[in-house]
Protein backbone atom coordinates (compact mmCIF):
# COMPACT_ATOMS: atom_id res chain seq x y z
CA UNK A 1 0.00 0.00 0.00
CA UNK A 2 1.15 3.54 -0.74
CA UNK A 3 0.88 6.14 1.98
CA UNK A 4 0.50 9.85 1.23
CA UNK A 5 3.83 10.90 2.74
CA UNK A 6 2.77 14.43 3.62
CA UNK A 7 -0.44 13.22 5.19
CA UNK A 8 0.78 10.22 7.13
CA UNK A 9 1.98 10.13 10.72
CA UNK A 10 3.79 7.52 12.72
CA UNK A 11 2.33 7.77 16.21
CA UNK A 12 4.62 6.42 18.93
CA UNK A 13 2.55 5.58 21.99
CA UNK A 14 4.22 5.65 25.42
CA UNK A 15 7.90 5.10 24.45
CA UNK A 16 8.86 5.84 28.05
CA UNK A 17 11.60 4.51 30.33
CA UNK A 18 9.26 2.70 32.70
CA UNK A 19 8.30 0.40 29.83
CA UNK A 20 11.52 0.17 27.86
CA UNK A 21 14.47 0.51 30.20
CA UNK A 22 15.59 -2.49 32.29
CA UNK A 23 15.54 0.04 35.15
CA UNK A 24 11.90 0.92 34.44
CA UNK A 25 9.13 -0.02 36.86
CA UNK A 26 7.05 -1.82 34.26
CA UNK A 27 9.96 -3.47 32.46
CA UNK A 28 9.85 -6.74 34.44
CA UNK A 29 6.28 -7.28 33.34
CA UNK A 30 6.62 -5.79 29.85
CA UNK A 31 9.82 -7.53 28.78
CA UNK A 32 8.40 -10.96 27.88
CA UNK A 33 6.24 -9.92 24.92
CA UNK A 34 8.56 -7.01 24.11
CA UNK A 35 11.43 -9.45 23.56
CA UNK A 36 9.24 -12.03 21.84
CA UNK A 37 8.16 -9.61 19.11
CA UNK A 38 11.51 -7.79 19.01
CA UNK A 39 9.66 -4.59 19.71
CA UNK A 40 12.44 -2.10 20.31
CA UNK A 41 14.37 -2.99 17.16
CA UNK A 42 11.17 -2.86 15.14
CA UNK A 43 10.15 0.51 16.57
CA UNK A 44 13.63 1.90 15.86
CA UNK A 45 13.61 0.65 12.26
CA UNK A 46 10.12 1.99 11.65
CA UNK A 47 10.87 5.38 13.18
CA UNK A 48 14.09 5.73 11.16
CA UNK A 49 12.37 4.82 7.89
CA UNK A 50 9.37 7.07 8.52
CA UNK A 51 11.67 10.01 9.29
CA UNK A 52 13.53 9.37 6.03
CA UNK A 53 10.22 9.28 4.18
CA UNK A 54 9.34 12.71 5.55
CA UNK A 55 6.35 11.55 7.55
CA UNK A 56 5.03 13.36 10.56
CA UNK A 57 6.41 11.71 13.70
CA UNK A 58 4.01 12.09 16.61
CA UNK A 59 4.40 11.18 20.26
CA UNK A 60 1.40 10.21 22.38
CA UNK A 61 2.78 9.99 25.91
CA UNK A 62 1.02 8.56 28.94
CA UNK A 63 0.15 10.76 31.89
CA UNK A 64 3.19 11.33 34.09
CA UNK A 65 2.25 10.69 37.67
CA UNK A 66 2.54 13.50 40.14
CA UNK A 67 1.02 14.31 43.50
CA UNK A 68 -2.67 14.96 43.03
CA UNK A 69 -2.96 13.03 39.76
CA UNK A 70 -6.54 11.83 39.18
CA UNK A 71 -7.77 13.82 42.20
CA UNK A 72 -10.81 14.97 40.27
CA UNK A 73 -11.87 11.48 39.24
CA UNK A 74 -14.37 9.53 41.31
CA UNK A 75 -14.00 6.30 39.31
CA UNK A 76 -10.50 5.46 38.21
CA UNK A 77 -9.55 3.50 35.12
CA UNK A 78 -7.86 0.23 36.21
CA UNK A 79 -4.57 1.51 34.77
CA UNK A 80 -4.87 4.66 36.87
CA UNK A 81 -5.28 2.59 40.01
CA UNK A 82 -2.08 0.71 39.18
CA UNK A 83 -0.27 3.93 38.27
CA UNK A 84 -1.29 5.49 41.57
CA UNK A 85 -0.04 2.45 43.49
CA UNK A 86 3.27 2.22 41.67
CA UNK A 87 3.82 5.95 40.95
CA UNK A 88 4.45 4.80 37.39
CA UNK A 89 5.71 7.23 34.73
CA UNK A 90 6.73 9.61 37.48
CA UNK A 91 6.73 13.20 36.28
CA UNK A 92 9.87 14.02 38.26
CA UNK A 93 11.74 10.76 37.76
CA UNK A 94 13.41 8.57 35.22
CA UNK A 95 10.34 6.46 34.44
CA UNK A 96 8.29 9.24 32.85
CA UNK A 97 11.02 10.35 30.47
CA UNK A 98 11.24 9.30 26.82
CA UNK A 99 13.64 6.41 26.33
CA UNK A 100 16.97 7.44 24.80
CA UNK A 101 16.26 5.41 21.65
CA UNK A 102 13.04 7.31 21.01
CA UNK A 103 13.79 10.93 21.79
CA UNK A 104 11.62 13.44 19.94
CA UNK A 105 13.31 15.61 17.36
CA UNK A 106 12.64 19.18 16.36
CA UNK A 107 9.43 19.42 14.37
CA UNK A 108 7.87 16.28 15.81
CA UNK A 109 4.33 16.43 17.14
CA UNK A 110 4.26 16.03 20.90
CA UNK A 111 0.75 15.44 22.10
CA UNK A 112 -0.45 16.40 25.54
CA UNK A 113 -0.55 13.40 27.89
CA UNK A 114 -3.39 10.89 27.89
CA UNK A 115 -4.84 10.12 31.33
CA UNK A 116 -6.25 6.67 30.55
CA UNK A 117 -5.61 4.74 27.36
CA UNK A 118 -6.50 6.59 24.19
CA UNK A 119 -3.89 8.96 22.82
CA UNK A 120 -6.75 11.09 21.49
CA UNK A 121 -9.21 11.40 24.38
CA UNK A 122 -8.71 14.61 26.33
CA UNK A 123 -5.50 15.48 24.45
CA UNK A 124 -4.50 17.82 21.64
CA UNK A 125 -3.23 15.01 19.38
CA UNK A 126 -6.16 15.22 16.95
CA UNK A 127 -5.87 18.99 16.67
CA UNK A 128 -2.14 18.83 15.98
CA UNK A 129 -2.52 16.07 13.39
CA UNK A 130 -5.37 17.95 11.73
CA UNK A 131 -3.24 21.08 11.51
CA UNK A 132 -0.61 19.06 9.65
CA UNK A 133 -3.19 17.56 7.31
CA UNK A 134 -2.70 14.02 8.56
CA UNK A 135 -5.23 11.51 7.25
CA UNK A 136 -3.32 8.23 7.76
CA UNK A 137 -1.67 7.01 10.93
CA UNK A 138 0.57 4.07 11.80
CA UNK A 139 0.72 3.08 15.47
CA UNK A 140 3.62 1.57 17.39
CA UNK A 141 4.42 1.21 21.08
CA UNK A 142 2.64 0.15 24.26
CA UNK A 143 0.37 -1.65 25.10
CA UNK A 144 -1.22 -3.73 22.35
CA UNK A 145 -4.59 -4.18 24.06
CA UNK A 146 -4.89 -0.94 26.02
CA UNK A 147 -3.30 2.30 24.85
CA UNK A 148 -2.59 1.13 21.29
CA UNK A 149 -6.02 -0.41 20.75
CA UNK A 150 -7.83 2.48 22.44
CA UNK A 151 -5.89 4.98 20.33
CA UNK A 152 -6.73 2.97 17.21
CA UNK A 153 -10.42 2.83 18.11
CA UNK A 154 -10.51 6.59 18.70
CA UNK A 155 -8.62 7.23 15.47
CA UNK A 156 -11.09 5.12 13.51
CA UNK A 157 -14.04 7.01 14.97
CA UNK A 158 -12.27 10.30 14.20
CA UNK A 159 -11.92 9.30 10.55
CA UNK A 160 -8.25 8.34 10.22
CA UNK A 161 -6.92 5.49 8.12
CA UNK A 162 -5.21 3.26 10.69
CA UNK A 163 -2.32 0.83 10.15
CA UNK A 164 -1.47 -1.60 12.93
CA UNK A 165 1.72 -3.65 13.05
CA UNK A 166 1.44 -6.85 15.05
CA UNK A 167 5.13 -6.90 16.02
CA UNK A 168 5.56 -3.18 16.72
CA UNK A 169 3.29 -3.31 19.76
CA UNK A 170 3.56 -5.20 23.02
CA UNK A 171 1.41 -6.16 26.02
CA UNK A 172 1.79 -7.38 29.61
CA UNK A 173 1.14 -11.02 28.73
CA UNK A 174 1.19 -13.14 25.57
CA UNK A 175 -2.56 -13.66 25.95
CA UNK A 176 -3.27 -9.92 26.12
CA UNK A 177 -1.15 -9.46 23.00
CA UNK A 178 -2.86 -12.33 21.19
CA UNK A 179 -6.34 -11.02 22.07
CA UNK A 180 -5.41 -7.69 20.54
CA UNK A 181 -3.41 -8.56 17.44
CA UNK A 182 -5.11 -11.80 16.46
CA UNK A 183 -8.72 -11.17 17.45
CA UNK A 184 -9.47 -7.45 17.48
CA UNK A 185 -6.93 -5.85 15.13
CA UNK A 186 -8.19 -7.77 12.07
CA UNK A 187 -11.59 -6.14 12.62
CA UNK A 188 -10.27 -2.68 13.41
CA UNK A 189 -7.25 -2.01 11.23
CA UNK A 190 -7.54 -0.62 7.73
CA UNK A 191 -4.23 -2.35 7.23
CA UNK A 192 -2.77 -5.01 9.55
CA UNK A 193 0.75 -6.07 8.75
CA UNK A 194 4.15 -6.71 10.32
CA UNK A 195 7.32 -4.64 10.45
CA UNK A 196 9.13 -6.42 7.65
CA UNK A 197 6.26 -6.09 5.18
CA UNK A 198 5.66 -2.52 6.23
CA UNK A 199 9.29 -1.53 5.69
CA UNK A 200 9.52 -3.42 2.42
CA UNK A 201 6.47 -1.56 1.18
CA UNK A 202 8.06 1.77 2.01
CA UNK A 203 11.39 1.11 0.34
Amino acid sequence: MEYPSKNTALVLVDPLNDFISPLGKAWPIARTVMKKVNLIEHMQAITKRCREAGWVIAYAPHHRYKKGSFAGRKYLHPSQIVQKMTLGFNAKGFGGKYHAKFLPQEGDVISSEHDCSSGFTGTNLHKQLQEKGVTHIVLAGFLSNTCIESTARSAIDLGYHVTLLDDAVSAWTPKDHEAAVEVNYPLLAHRLTNTQNFLTGLS
Partner: protein
Protein backbone atom coordinates in the same frame (compact mmCIF):
# COMPACT_ATOMS: atom_id res chain seq x y z
CA UNK B 1 5.63 -16.63 33.86
CA UNK B 2 6.74 -13.90 36.24
CA UNK B 3 4.91 -11.37 34.09
CA UNK B 4 1.68 -13.40 34.30
CA UNK B 5 1.98 -13.45 38.08
CA UNK B 6 2.64 -9.70 38.22
CA UNK B 7 -0.20 -9.05 35.79
CA UNK B 8 -2.65 -11.03 37.91
CA UNK B 9 -1.42 -9.26 41.06
CA UNK B 10 -2.09 -5.87 39.50
CA UNK B 11 -5.56 -6.98 38.41
CA UNK B 12 -6.26 -8.18 41.94
CA UNK B 13 -5.11 -4.91 43.50
CA UNK B 14 -7.11 -2.82 41.01
CA UNK B 15 -10.14 -4.95 41.74
CA UNK B 16 -9.94 -4.19 45.46
CA UNK B 17 -10.38 -0.49 44.69
CA UNK B 18 -13.05 -1.13 42.09
CA UNK B 19 -15.18 -3.11 44.52
CA UNK B 20 -16.13 0.14 46.19
CA UNK B 21 -17.55 1.42 42.89
CA UNK B 22 -20.19 -1.30 42.68
CA UNK B 23 -23.25 0.53 43.94
CA UNK B 24 -26.10 1.36 41.61
CA UNK B 25 -28.45 4.00 43.03
CA UNK B 26 -31.38 4.85 40.77
CA UNK B 27 -30.50 8.51 40.24
CA UNK B 28 -26.89 7.77 39.27
CA UNK B 29 -27.32 4.73 37.03
CA UNK B 30 -28.26 4.18 33.38
CA UNK B 31 -28.49 1.18 31.10
CA UNK B 32 -26.78 1.74 27.73
CA UNK B 33 -27.81 -0.71 25.00
CA UNK B 34 -25.32 -0.66 22.13
CA UNK B 35 -26.51 -2.07 18.78
CA UNK B 36 -29.65 -3.53 20.39
CA UNK B 37 -31.86 -3.34 17.32
CA UNK B 38 -33.81 -5.57 15.03
CA UNK B 39 -31.03 -6.21 12.51
CA UNK B 40 -29.02 -7.92 15.20
CA UNK B 41 -31.80 -9.60 17.17
CA UNK B 42 -34.51 -10.88 14.85
CA UNK B 43 -33.97 -14.54 13.88
CA UNK B 44 -34.58 -13.80 10.19
CA UNK B 45 -31.88 -11.15 10.05
CA UNK B 46 -28.30 -11.92 8.98
CA UNK B 47 -27.06 -9.84 11.91
CA UNK B 48 -28.64 -12.20 14.41
CA UNK B 49 -27.41 -15.21 12.50
CA UNK B 50 -23.86 -13.85 12.72
CA UNK B 51 -23.95 -13.82 16.54
CA UNK B 52 -26.53 -16.51 17.24
CA UNK B 53 -24.10 -19.29 18.23
CA UNK B 54 -22.62 -17.26 21.06
CA UNK B 55 -25.91 -15.51 21.83
CA UNK B 56 -27.78 -18.78 22.26
CA UNK B 57 -24.99 -20.23 24.39
CA UNK B 58 -25.18 -17.33 26.85
CA UNK B 59 -28.99 -17.08 26.62
CA UNK B 60 -28.60 -13.53 25.34
CA UNK B 61 -32.24 -12.64 24.60
CA UNK B 62 -33.66 -14.03 27.82
CA UNK B 63 -30.99 -12.26 29.85
CA UNK B 64 -31.47 -9.04 27.88
CA UNK B 65 -35.22 -9.09 28.54
CA UNK B 66 -34.57 -9.73 32.21
CA UNK B 67 -31.95 -6.95 32.42
CA UNK B 68 -34.21 -4.39 30.77
CA UNK B 69 -37.15 -5.37 32.98
CA UNK B 70 -34.92 -5.05 36.05
CA UNK B 71 -33.64 -1.63 34.91
CA UNK B 72 -37.23 -0.44 34.43
CA UNK B 73 -38.23 -1.74 37.87
CA UNK B 74 -35.24 0.03 39.43
CA UNK B 75 -36.11 3.27 37.66
CA UNK B 76 -32.86 3.48 35.70
CA UNK B 77 -32.64 5.56 32.56
CA UNK B 78 -32.39 3.36 29.48
CA UNK B 79 -30.57 4.57 26.37
CA UNK B 80 -30.51 2.75 23.03
CA UNK B 81 -27.56 3.50 20.72
CA UNK B 82 -28.32 1.71 17.44
CA UNK B 83 -25.90 1.29 14.56
CA UNK B 84 -27.47 3.15 11.64
CA UNK B 85 -26.55 4.11 8.13
CA UNK B 86 -25.74 7.60 9.38
CA UNK B 87 -22.39 6.06 10.32
CA UNK B 88 -20.36 6.82 7.22
CA UNK B 89 -16.63 6.46 7.93
CA UNK B 90 -14.11 8.11 5.64
CA UNK B 91 -12.17 4.86 5.68
CA UNK B 92 -14.19 1.71 6.33
CA UNK B 93 -12.74 -0.96 8.59
CA UNK B 94 -13.74 -4.64 8.45
CA UNK B 95 -15.84 -3.89 11.56
CA UNK B 96 -17.77 -1.17 9.73
CA UNK B 97 -18.28 -3.48 6.78
CA UNK B 98 -19.57 -6.24 9.04
CA UNK B 99 -22.06 -3.90 10.70
CA UNK B 100 -23.09 -2.23 7.46
CA UNK B 101 -23.74 -5.55 5.77
CA UNK B 102 -26.39 -6.32 8.38
CA UNK B 103 -28.32 -3.06 8.39
CA UNK B 104 -30.75 -2.01 5.75
CA UNK B 105 -30.42 1.29 3.98
CA UNK B 106 -33.39 3.41 4.99
CA UNK B 107 -32.00 6.92 5.23
CA UNK B 108 -31.90 8.17 8.79
CA UNK B 109 -34.58 5.87 10.15
CA UNK B 110 -33.66 4.48 13.54
CA UNK B 111 -34.28 0.79 13.65
CA UNK B 112 -34.92 -0.12 17.24
CA UNK B 113 -38.68 -0.54 17.13
CA UNK B 114 -39.46 -3.48 14.90
CA UNK B 115 -42.81 -5.23 15.12
CA UNK B 116 -41.42 -8.67 15.58
CA UNK B 117 -38.84 -8.08 18.25
CA UNK B 118 -39.56 -9.36 21.74
CA UNK B 119 -41.70 -6.72 23.40
CA UNK B 120 -39.54 -6.77 26.50
CA UNK B 121 -36.50 -5.60 24.51
CA UNK B 122 -38.28 -2.71 22.80
CA UNK B 123 -37.77 0.85 23.92
CA UNK B 124 -40.71 2.66 25.46
CA UNK B 125 -41.63 6.34 25.42
CA UNK B 126 -39.47 7.12 28.45
CA UNK B 127 -36.33 5.66 26.93
CA UNK B 128 -33.77 7.68 25.00
CA UNK B 129 -32.66 6.74 21.51
CA UNK B 130 -29.26 8.05 20.47
CA UNK B 131 -29.75 8.86 16.81
CA UNK B 132 -26.61 10.87 16.11
CA UNK B 133 -23.87 8.30 16.64
CA UNK B 134 -21.16 8.47 13.95
CA UNK B 135 -18.76 5.66 14.86
CA UNK B 136 -18.26 2.24 16.40
CA UNK B 137 -18.48 3.79 19.88
CA UNK B 138 -21.92 4.90 21.06
CA UNK B 139 -20.22 8.11 22.23
CA UNK B 140 -18.62 8.88 18.89
CA UNK B 141 -19.99 12.16 17.56
CA UNK B 142 -23.17 11.65 19.57
CA UNK B 143 -25.15 13.38 22.28
CA UNK B 144 -24.84 10.40 24.63
CA UNK B 145 -22.24 11.89 26.99
CA UNK B 146 -24.11 15.20 27.23
CA UNK B 147 -27.43 13.47 27.92
CA UNK B 148 -25.82 11.42 30.70
CA UNK B 149 -24.09 14.48 32.12
CA UNK B 150 -27.34 16.42 32.14
CA UNK B 151 -28.79 13.74 34.42
CA UNK B 152 -25.66 13.43 36.58
CA UNK B 153 -25.36 9.75 35.71
CA UNK B 154 -22.19 8.06 37.04
CA UNK B 155 -22.73 4.31 36.59
CA UNK B 156 -23.25 2.87 33.12
CA UNK B 157 -24.49 -0.66 32.59
CA UNK B 158 -23.56 -1.93 29.13
CA UNK B 159 -25.11 -4.67 27.00
CA UNK B 160 -25.29 -5.49 23.31
CA UNK B 161 -24.60 -8.15 20.71
CA UNK B 162 -21.05 -7.21 19.61
CA UNK B 163 -18.77 -7.42 22.62
CA UNK B 164 -15.53 -6.65 20.76
CA UNK B 165 -16.89 -4.04 18.35
CA UNK B 166 -19.48 -1.51 19.56
CA UNK B 167 -19.46 -2.55 23.21
CA UNK B 168 -15.68 -2.50 23.52
CA UNK B 169 -15.32 0.95 21.90
CA UNK B 170 -18.22 2.36 23.96
CA UNK B 171 -16.93 1.02 27.27
CA UNK B 172 -13.42 2.33 26.60
CA UNK B 173 -14.87 5.79 25.96
CA UNK B 174 -17.14 5.62 29.02
CA UNK B 175 -14.25 4.88 31.37
CA UNK B 176 -12.13 7.60 29.74
CA UNK B 177 -14.95 10.07 30.36
CA UNK B 178 -14.96 9.15 34.05
CA UNK B 179 -17.92 6.79 34.35
CA UNK B 180 -17.99 3.55 36.31
CA UNK B 181 -18.66 1.01 33.57
CA UNK B 182 -20.26 -2.37 34.18
CA UNK B 183 -20.49 -4.94 31.41
CA UNK B 184 -23.22 -7.56 31.80
CA UNK B 185 -21.38 -10.45 30.21
CA UNK B 186 -24.32 -12.71 29.39
CA UNK B 187 -26.13 -9.79 27.78
CA UNK B 188 -23.34 -9.65 25.21
CA UNK B 189 -22.36 -11.81 22.25
CA UNK B 190 -19.96 -11.93 19.30
CA UNK B 191 -19.55 -13.49 15.90
CA UNK B 192 -17.33 -16.26 17.31
CA UNK B 193 -16.58 -17.93 20.61
CA UNK B 194 -12.98 -16.81 20.57
CA UNK B 195 -13.96 -13.16 20.14
CA UNK B 196 -16.45 -13.44 22.99
CA UNK B 197 -14.11 -15.28 25.38
CA UNK B 198 -11.06 -13.12 24.64
CA UNK B 199 -13.07 -9.92 25.10
CA UNK B 200 -14.79 -11.06 28.31
CA UNK B 201 -11.83 -12.74 29.99
CA UNK B 202 -8.77 -10.90 28.68
CA UNK B 203 -9.30 -7.57 26.96
CA UNK B 204 -12.24 -5.83 28.61
CA UNK B 205 -11.17 -6.46 32.24
CA UNK B 206 -8.12 -4.29 31.47
CA UNK B 207 -10.29 -1.17 31.18
CA UNK B 208 -13.81 -1.92 32.39
CA UNK B 209 -14.09 -1.68 36.17
CA UNK B 210 -16.86 -4.26 36.61
CA UNK B 211 -17.95 -7.37 34.74
CA UNK B 212 -20.99 -9.18 36.13
CA UNK B 213 -23.36 -11.84 34.92
CA UNK B 214 -26.95 -10.66 34.67
CA UNK B 215 -27.97 -12.47 37.84
CA UNK B 216 -25.00 -11.20 39.83
CA UNK B 217 -25.58 -7.65 38.63
CA UNK B 218 -29.22 -7.76 39.67
CA UNK B 219 -28.29 -9.15 43.08
CA UNK B 220 -25.70 -6.41 43.67
CA UNK B 221 -27.86 -3.62 42.29
CA UNK B 222 -30.92 -4.62 44.31
CA UNK B 223 -29.04 -4.06 47.58
Amino acid sequence: MLNNLMSESMKFLANLTQKTYRQYPKHLTALVLVDVQKEFLLPVESGWQSVSDVAETVNFKKNMSSLIAFARAQGYDILYAPYTDTIKPTFETPAHQLMKDHIQVRGNEVKVAPNLLEQSILPNDKDTIIEDRTGLSAFSGSSLHQKLQDKNIENLIFAGPFINIGLDSSIRDAVEYGYHATLVTDCAAATSNIEYEMAKDTTIPRFCQTLFSNSLFQTKAAK
